[in-house]
Symmetry: C2
């Protein structure tokens, strides 16, 4: 199911914003594209102010600077082999095939798969208030919807534009295999856990716990408990120090009593 | 891999916002929760203004109205069996196990799986500017990160809070099986396509296409072409009408010539 695409293949996806009205949303779309590794933003707008505002923001990205503007959907998608419209479903009667996101992303990845780079996919997002019009939808091969819970209160789904784009791009990237920065967390090795177990067992004996709770003090039981802690390698010396301190204090108080 | 949870089980997820500063982001978080079917929002804030502003917005949801506020992370997560911190990774040295989102969501779903409803999961999101502090992270069992492309320009990943929450909740819901509103699109039945094929073939003959392009006019070829159109059931009568009109016009012009 999962398939690794080259960055060159993923680069054949265009995000097309149609009549986006809120510059903050346009900026959020560009940031999601940057984070997920997409570069091609196309803007269809009869009213240029929102895009110009977004482009002139201090934190505007290279993606906004390089975005192409078009007067019509037809021009914006002319070089694409697959045109996907996004919709929140809702009260409208849809006359296109509709695919929920995970399946829709698979179909998009299929389109991008030929290694000759012949596949080029446009994903259209409509205006915040009305979505894509029927005329705009008529340019689409099929529609994508982000699966939502059906609520009794019939409030319309209300993800904003930046959220909808982020979810769609995440799903595309998820299906094509992403590398992630590794954590510095390293689990303790068995030998480290064993040294901890030995010391813990000694603490149980010296504090009298073993005597009062023999059923909990079996060495295997102590080992299992230490393993279940899932202790990090770097924390082992700290825990060893804590236990040694306990042992030192216990011996000290024993000496005091004697 | 995919596992269906009851809405009661999904209801055991709490989204915890720690020091969120932007009321618009808090509102966007609430909307994503509503769309994906989550209800429990908890807010940890020394500075109450952003949350109060979000709660008093005209389009504020039931989720914001029902959100619980806490003075500390410890209080906000006290009843949870699993506490997951979110991080954009970055320059910080992480001393927790780190799981990329798809895998992290699987672990969360595992925690929610017991049917006695004993699992309760908190997902913590930090402030827009600084994320979760080391003290806040220390309350977490492990960390979740949304996989991002590594860029050479070393700009930090920049999904906003509303986008990050939407992507995480989408992934949780994706893994637990979501029903989606069906499209009204119904593909044409084979019999409908066959009637269309017959009529199309007649058009090819009557217009002289068959005579000029015999290699393209074989009836099987015409049928395959009609099937590849992927025509919708409701469009069949329209196409039939178009073709009949062509035939009528062609006959008419033939009559005119005779």
């Amino acid at each position: 199911m999962e398939r690794v695409l080259s960055s060159q293949q993923l680069d054949c996806v265009c995000v097309v914003l149609v009549r986006a009205r809120n510059p903050n949303n346009i900026g959020a779309v560009a940031r999601a594209m940057h984070d997920f590794g997409f570069r091609h933003l196309r803007v269809v707008n009869d009213y240029p102010v929102p895009f110009e505002t977004a482009r002139s923001a201090v934190d505007a990205s290279a993606i906004l600077a390089g975005a192409a503007t078009f007067d019509s959907v037809a021009e914006a998608i002319a070089d694409c082999t697959l045109v996907v419209g996004t919709t929140a479903v809702g009260e409208r009667t849809l006359q296109h095939p509709l695919h929920p996101l995970p399946e829709a992303a698979t179909k998009i990845v299929d389109e991008l798969a030929p290694e000759d780079g012949s596949g080029r996919v446009a994903i259209l997002f409509g205006s915040e208030k009305t979505g894509l019009s029927n005329e705009e939808l008529s340019h689409c091969n099929w529609l994508l919807t982000i699966p939502m819970q059906q609520h009794e209160d019939v409030r319309h789904p209300s993800l904003n534009l930046g959220q909808a784009v982020a979810v769609c791009l995440y799903e595309l990237v998820r299906q094509t295999g992403l590398s992630v920065a590794a954590s510095d967390f390293v689990a303790a090795k068995a030998g480290e856990v064993e040294r901890l177990t030995t010391l813990l067992h000694e603490v149980l004996q010296k504090t009298g716990y073993t005597r009062h709770h023999p059923a909990n003090s079996d060495e295997s039981q102590v080992r299992r408990m230490a393993l279940r802690m899932g202790v990090a390698s770097i924390d082992v010396p700290v825990w060893m120090g804590v236990l040694r301190q306990v042992l030192w204090k216990v011996r000290d108080s024993d000496t005091g009593k004697d």
